[in-house]
Amino acid sequence: MASSEKRKVTAEDIENLIEIFKQSSWDEMHLEADGLEIFLSNDPTATTPRTPAAAVPSAAMTNSAVANVVVPAAASVAASSTTLSHAAGGAGAPIPDGQVAIRAPNLGTFYRAPKPGAPTYIEVGQQIEVTTEVCLIEVMKLFTPVQSGLRGIVREIRARDGQMVEFDAVLIIIEPN
């Protein structure tokens, strides 16, 4: 069950782990708890030693919140994206039971479509897959598509088109299936 409230693993927890790892002299860190698996390595080509069934390939994580936090820190993370990307609690309207939030992987301007006038990436009610692109975030003319990271139905689009979103802000609410 992908209930974020029960897990209580936040993006901050992950950051703290990464910080500890960076300040250590370890080559690798591999942690498993509660269906969550984190693998940190100083070897950019390293992959998870043992991929859990639910996990997605690390390449698919490139644009998800957690992967964006980690990659420039010279560590690679592979984990269940459902758990990591959407676990962080935060302000704003509560997320309905059984639904999870896709959060902003970085601060930037939120766009619902790849370019002005083009069809939107997703609409409410739509079924999406793990690799479905759901929006675009722009920082100083650098546009980065954001992937869902999980399979489910779009229930709500919270961020407003063309508006700035802060790091970790709730963008889209998904009901996983």
């Binding site: 901050e12 950051e15 936090v69 601060l107 970790d168």
Partner: protein, 455 residues
């Protein structure tokens, strides 16, 4: 054009200081914070707070694109960089210029010129400012050994792009150079992306003095007196005071003139500090570098001159000229600042972040505390360990030292370990009261004595 809304992009005490100074001038504030600083003092004070990224500074405070994007999207017309982080990066200043945001600091070209230590020395030399005898770029160990013979040992070998002591070492003979040159150069390459080294005579009995300057970009420059920052550990300042009471008036005049001439030659804009080595034995000063930003220790200059330097930064950046003359900036008092850090002075200064459970700073006449901390504040583990600056002011140095001793004695911080015992030990040491010290005093005399109190 006066500034109407500023993005404050630093953290800790300076962010709170910047937000307050802006508010005092009627300027609206947006505070950029990382996830770890959402509960910070600056976030509480600012009109709006924006979470720009995760705790890791590389993905938040060190990302110029994020900062300028935030400034543009929140309707800010200016950006205050504080100190550290990107405050002296030409790239951020230039990015601001390109997008119509006022960078509250020197021009991008000025930052670039002064950021390169060798270029800065050339500028100083051209302005007639005295320099410590030294070399140009040194490429190899052999060249370094040859230069060492010519200058006479001991020599200091430094990274051209360096700072904070990284990529720097003292050589007392050719063997030291052979042992450390390549390592230091590699360290500089890793830290600054530039392994260029140079060398100068090492002045063993020296004080660190620096002049607070301000330019309005027209070529007019005023100074706000000098600071003595000789009490340092690993090139990190621990105590700073104004004025440098140990310096005779004639030399002080030369110091001020040198600093003003140097930055005036650049048509310097905004706040800066010109650092010098004060050679006590030769009674001479040598230029070290210019810090093109507001500095941690600016409050002591404010205390002795009565000017608010951060407000002045906003006014100059908003296009106001320096409308005073030098004689309107007399130094009439004495001020001492000490840096309170969340670190354990008994365990090799190991950082000790954590939650502050009790925070009772001293209060009273002549006592100022610049801090972002409060009871129940969590000092995050990701950044600098400084949690406050205690600044005391009095009519004389003697009175100031006494006031500092009392203030430190009354300062209560619980929940985490701080360097308060060390600060107290310094403030009550007879050498400090007698002002008999140099840049090596803390490490060579004070710290061994301090450690002995533990046994």
């Amino acid at each position: 054009m006066p500034i109407s809304r500023v993005l404050s992009v630093n953290r800790g005490e300076i962010a709170a200081r910047v937000v307050r100074a802006a508010h005092a001038l009627g300027i609206e504030t947006v505070q950029a914070v990382s996830m770890a600083d959402r509960e910070s003092r600056a976030a509480q004070l600012a009109d709006r707070t924006v979470v720009i990224g995760p705790a890791a500074s590389r993905l938040s405070y060190l990302d110029a694109n994020l900062l300028v994007h935030t400034a543009l999207q929140t309707g800010c017309d200016a950006l205050h960089p504080g100190y550290g982080f990107l405050s002296e990066r030409e790239h951020l200043a230039r990015l601001c210029d390109e997008h119509g945001i006022i960078f509250i600091g020197p021009a991008a070209e000025t930052i670039a010129a002064l950021g390169d230590k060798l270029k800065a020395k050339a500028i100083a030399r051209a302005a007639g400012v005295p320099l410590v005898p030294g070399t140009e770029r040194i490429a190899t160990v052999n060249d370094a050994v040859k230069a060492g013979e010519e200058l006479g040992y001991p020599v200091l070998i430094k990274a051209s792009a360096g700072g904070g002591g990284r990529g720097m070492f003292i050589a007392r003979g050719p063997d030291d150079i052979v042992a450390s040159f390549d390592k230091a150069s590699n360290e500089a390459m890793e830290a600054f992306g530039d392994g260029t080294m140079y060398m100068e005579r090492y002045v063993e009995n020296a004080r660190h003095v620096e002049v607070q300057v301000f330019g309005d970009g027209s070529g007019k420059v005023l100074h706000f007196g000098e600071r003595d920052c000789s009490i340092q550990r690993r090139y990190q300042k621990v105590f700073e005071e104004a004025p440098c009471a140990a310096m005779p008036p004639a030399l002080r005049r030369q110091l001020h003139e040198s600093a003003v001439n140097l930055v005036a030659s650049l048509k310097y804009r905004n706040a800066g500090t010109v650092e010098f080595l004060y050679d006590i034995d030769r009674q001479a000063i040598y230029f070290i570098e210019v810090n093109a930003r507001i500095q941690v220790e600016h409050p002591v200059s404010e205390q002795v001159t009565g000017y608010d330097l951060v407000q002045l930064q906003f006014q100059i950046a908003g296009g106001e000229p320096l409308r005073w003359t030098q004689d309107q900036i007399p130094v009439t008092r004495h001020a001492i600042e000490c840096r309170l850090n969340a670190e354990d002075p008994y365990r090799n200064f190991k950082p000790s972040p954590g939650r502050i459970t009790r925070w009772v700073p001293p209060q009273g006449a002549g006592i100022r505390l610049d801090s972002h901390c409060y009871a129940d504040y969590l000092v995050p583990p990701f950044y600098d360990s400084m949690i406050g600056k205690l600044i005391v002011t009095a009519a004389s140095r003697e009175e100031c030292v006494r006031r500092l001793q009392v203030a430190l004695e009354k300062f209560v911080v619980e929940g985490l370990t701080t360097n308060l015992p060390l600060l107290k030990f310094i403030a009550t040491h007879p050498d400090f009261a007698a002002n008999q010290l140099n840049t090596r005093w803390l490490e060579q005399i004070l710290l061994p004595a301090f450690e002995a109190t533990q046994e």
